[in-house]
């Protein structure tokens, strides 16, 4: 179905950049370019003081239109401080 393949990672990344001015953003298309399955890592000051649920809601809202046709969507939303900790753990 062509409607499944509306969006690419670049489109989502641009939209997230415009909305959150993230210090770091990674959008991965896990669907081999079909546009049906994405995972997102986003780091932004906008998330400071927000609960985990609120952060995810903000991201969901910013991509509300896209999420209607994206079938699988996974996200990790961090504040810059949280992101630093995550990276330290990964080392």
């Amino acid at each position: 179905m062509s409607s499944e393949c509306k969006y690419d990672a670049k489109h989502l990344e641009d939209k997230l950049r415009a909305r959150f001015e993230p210090s770091h953003v990674e959008v991965t298309d896990d669907s081999d370019g079909c546009g049906a399955k994405f995972s997102v890592i986003i780091v932004s000051k906008e998330f400071v003081g927000q609960s985990l649920l609120k952060k995810h809601r903000l991201v969901n809202q910013s991509l509300a239109e896209e999420l209607k046709s994206i079938h699988a969507f996974s996200q990790k939303a961090y504040t810059p401080e949280e992101w630093e900790k995550v990276q330290q753990q990964q080392q």
Binding site: M1, L67, S74, Q75
Partner: protein
């Protein structure tokens, strides 16, 4: 989608204070074989189609301390994200009510509208919407899930295992 199971099973996945407990806990994985329709999909009925109403859902999310809306059932999840939630609940030894939204399109639409959340699975603790798979996974990793369950009067199996280990360690030191 095996990726999530792999993450769950990876040594060192748990916060360090939980590592011992986690390794002691047998983890079963259920392969999710069907394609995952995690979000609203193109085949969804128009908005005018019947959805389960708010008051019904308000009751439904309180039928147990933990209530999960998922694809498939806990014995046979039909989506990797739903499977991940099932595995997390299993590790914590949580008893919960599960509702298969694939069996009920009105429920599927209804719960999404109820929470204003676009994806399935959805997890409720004490009637409160907690989040979907990503959030549960993160709460599991950070240890916040243990706390959240405790608020609802549920003692996580991971916590019990940790406490037993601490007691044993204390005895050994004597």
């Amino acid at each position: 989608m095996n990726r999530i199971s792999q993450i769950l099973l990876r040594p060192g996945f748990f916060t360090s204070h939980l590592a011992g407990a986690a390794r002691a806990t047998p983890v079963m994985t259920t392969a999710a074989t069907t394609r995952c329709w995690y979000s609203a999909d193109a085949t969804a009925p128009p908005a005018s189609a019947a959805t389960v109403d708010k008051s019904t859902l308000e009751k439904l999310v309180r039928t147990n301390k933990v209530v999960v809306f998922m694809k498939g059932n806990p014995q046979a999840p039909r989506c990797g994200f739903s499977n991940a939630v099932v595995q997390i609940m299993r590790m914590h030894g949580v008893q919960y009510d599960a509702h298969d939204v694939l069996q009920n399109e009105a429920l599927r639409q209804g719960v999404k509208e109820f929470t204003d959340w676009p994806t399935i699975p959805q997890v409720f603790i004490n009637g409160e919407f907690v989040g979907g798979c990503d959030i549960l996974l993160q709460m599991h990793q950070s240890g916040d899930l243990i706390e959240e369950l405790q608020k609802a009067g549920i003692v996580s199996e991971l916590l019990k295992a940790q406490q037993a280990k601490d007691e044993q360690d204390a005895k050994n030191k004597k």
